[in-house]
Amino acid sequence: MLLHKKKTEEHQETVAGADAPVCREEARRAFKLDGEKGAKAVFFIAAAFSVVAVFAIVIYLLVASIPALSEIGFFNFLFKNQWLPKFYEDGSRPASATFGILPMILSSIVVTLGAVVVGGLLGVCTAVFLVYYCPKKFKGAYTQVINLLAGIPSVVYGFFGLVVIVPMLEGMFGVTVGKGVLAAVLVLSLMIMPTIASLTKNSLEAVPNEYYEGSLALGNTKAQAIFKVCLPAAKRGILSALILGVGRAVGETMAVAMVVGNTTNNFPTGLFMPVATMTTQIVKEMGYATGLRKEALISIGFILLIFVLIINLILTLVKREKMGGNALFGRKLRTEHAEDGTQKPKSQYEFRRGGIVQEVLKYICMVLAAVVIVALVAMVAFIIVKGVPNLTADFLFTAGSSTDVTMPQLLVTTLLIIFMTLIIALPLGIAAAIYLNEYSKKGSKLVKVIRLFIDTLAGIPSIVFGLFGNIFFVAICGGRYSIIAGSLTMVLIVLPTIVRSTEESLREVADSMREGSLALGASKVRTIFKIVLPSALSGIVTSIILSIGRIVGESAALIYTAGAVIGMPDGYGSSGMTFAVAMYKLTQTGRAGDMEKAYAIAVVLLVIVVALNLLVTFLEKRIKRKTLGTTGTGTEKKHAHAKQEAEEENTEALEPLAEPAPAEGAKA
């Protein structure tokens, strides 16, 4: 006590004494240092959030599915071929009730593989056409269309399958029920095709031009060069695109649920066999399941999650140079030696003209690319033609009732979710990106782990987020479906997009800018907020728009978190339907007039997707121009640039003729 008093006295003395300024100075310096450290800590926590989220999801689902798994038995659950969840009224279950999910697992695998084979073939061929054969005039437009199609929500693809592909299959093959394995494969193929095409295109464009030239210089035809040199050079990128396609297909819920037939316990033995996959089983039964049945559904979600985590792991291994490299694609040298060990003399080789196979492949690519684009454009056109007449004033502008779905209800719900999701996810994502790009050391293990988890988070299917949201966010938000629970679930879904997109644009900011700011004595935090972030604005804006697109199109994650109640929501506490959820619901009721409303919503969704896409293109162009410093004199600069390019082309063309030029220069 006394000691303490003495100390405080001393302290006061120093404060009051001549040393006071020094003391305060030090305090200030400590505070300032802490400010820097504090900022770093905040950024780190944001980055670590994704790690926590992935762990939380896995562990939560595991814990929630342990009771069911232990009661049913793990192997009974996985390998019994009957799902017969019967219950007596008191909640106990008869001996005949079984919870086997083998048919669902097999159906999921078959549908996924089929979709990846068909969609992968279409996607890769489209990309080859786009990169190497597409006339320059159409290239930009074609790329835009592919990007646009990649952004169309899966419910719209499912809806197209339901109203066009299924009846078409029924007509073509004379079957009574068109829903089934084949319909699901086709819908999923269409859905994953744009993604695979655009990723393949990127990796084909990354193949150095020298490869192509080198191949031509050896006497190859264009087709040979493309299929024997360029395509193999991009195989790693193509493989990861295909694996990404597997991930999307296995996790897709709503589109599949609309066309797969949803008949539990059927094995996928035929093209037109109606089956149920893991995801569709969850979404079909989750609405009314209770007790053990609900826990068993969560277990299905857990198994699905394990599937996806394995796929993610494979993807990581393929992407990593060291592992994938020669172990996956290597080939042993097989030199043919004559019996005495000497090589054949040269005259024995025969050189023949080849390349017929590649020529055929070329035409296959062209045809498939044409088919794909026609099919997809037809899909959009069909929906618009059928949907626009259904956009009645009544549907568009009345507030509706608790029995009538109308546009304002959906719009309000969707906007509420967009707002809340972005308010939470944006600061979190940007802070995480700042940590990953500005504070981490190159090659740091911790950062690699965080990146891996962010990628994992991006690969988890939305139905799994839906399940997690259902048992976690709904529980902490008052125990019933609410818009806030849906928003929190969406935060987890859009977070990886925001982190990745922001990080990428942070990486593009030149280091010399950071050096310039630091060399003026600015602190790291000031440098980040004043110099780095403003330069990365375009990436952040893009990530916002992408996130909005994701939220607008999401259905599986929202149907059991935000719910599907008809009526105008009166706040974040109440339940409400977004566009996509409403569209799915309306196709399931069978009530007169509901299908027409689904058409109308499909049109609205398409319009939103197109608008967002155009917005991204427009903003990126504008921001780029602004950062290039051509405000005001934009057109002039553009002209100058174009002129310069033209000149460069000219000089290239003239190069063989321009040999005497250097001599002249020397004289001058």
Partner: protein
């Protein structure tokens, strides 16, 4: 009476602002002694295990231009960067020995980086204007150090541009983006930006290597004009440039400082055989 009171209270407020915990402390300049601005003593520098600089000893005089010359990879840029600790950004970089500015060891743990870099400005090899207007580029430094008043900033911007001899060219384009300027203008803008925080020392890392001869000439003129106002340390590949503008020249080879002396003496009567070989163009 009332007016006086109001005035007093205003002054009090400002005083409080200056004294509070959250107040920005003043950034004191370094006090040079005996006309020596920077003193490097037994300094070694490592990149990981690689020793990039060996036992450097040199003193750079106040308000003079010191040039550092030598072939590529001899460590002269590394040394320059270590003078305002920009090499902190390089991973695995470690400094042993002492660098003192005005008697203060800048590698001490308690050293204030912001103060160091405010007083020891830097101009880089490639012009690096920020993606903002000319005005904001120059005002960035002063704003960093708490100058918010528009009138003061206006004054600083004009004076810095005048000091960099580009006020006439740019006075009508202050609001335009700095990225629209030509390479030479950008580099001089970067010099103006560095001058805006009134540094005592200006480090220049091959400031003209990315520029055409006319822009190079303008920057050399600028160095001449700044000679009596601040201390300049310049790294250059161009020996004529060193001979033209510098007072002192130091020659580096393979991480060692071979020789340092008055520029005339180094170029006309070098003490070391290696210096002579380099200057006469026998290698490098």
């Amino acid at each position: 009476m009332k007016e006086k009171k109001i005035k007093e209270s205003k002054e009090e407020k400002e005083e409080k602002k200056e004294k509070g915990l959250f107040a920005r402390k003043q950034v004191p300049p370094f006090r040079f002694e005996n006309g020596v601005a920077i003193n490097v003593k037994d300094m070694d520098l490592f990149y990981g295990d690689f020793k990039a600089l060996k036992k450097i000893n040199m003193a750079m005089p106040e308000k003079k231009i010191t040039a550092m010359i030598g072939p590529s990879g001899c460590g002269k840029s590394t040394l320059l960067k270590s003078l305002n600790r920009m090499n902190d950004l390089v991973e695995g970089c470690r400094v042993e020995g002492e660098i003192t500015i005005g008697g203060e060891n800048i590698y001490e743990k308690t050293a204030d980086l912001a103060r160091l870099r405010k007083n020891v400005g830097m101009v880089f090899q490639r012009p690096n204007p920020f993606a903002m207007s000319v005005y904001d580029n120059i005002a960035y430094g002063p704003r960093t150090f708490g100058i918010k008043k528009k009138s003061v900033l206006d004054e600083i911007v004009e004076r810095s541009l005048r000091n960099a001899a580009m006020w006439e060219e740019l006075k009508d384009r202050l609001g335009k983006s700095a990225l629209g300027l030509s390479g030479g203008q950008q580099q001089r803008l970067c010099i103006a930006r560095a001058l805006a925080v009134e540094p005592q020392i200006l480090l220049m890392d091959e400031p003209t290597s990315a520029l055409d001869p006319i822009s190079t000439g303008k920057i050399e003129e600028l160095c001449e004009e700044l000679r009596d106002k601040i201390t300049i340390v310049i790294v250059t590949h161009n020996m004529q440039q060193a001979a033209r503008i510098s007072d002192k020249t130091a020659f580096f080879l393979l991480g060692e400082m071979v020789e340092m002396g008055d520029t005339d003496q180094v170029f006309s009567a070098p003490q070391d055989k290696r210096t002579e070989d380099y200057i006469t163009g026998r290698f490098g």
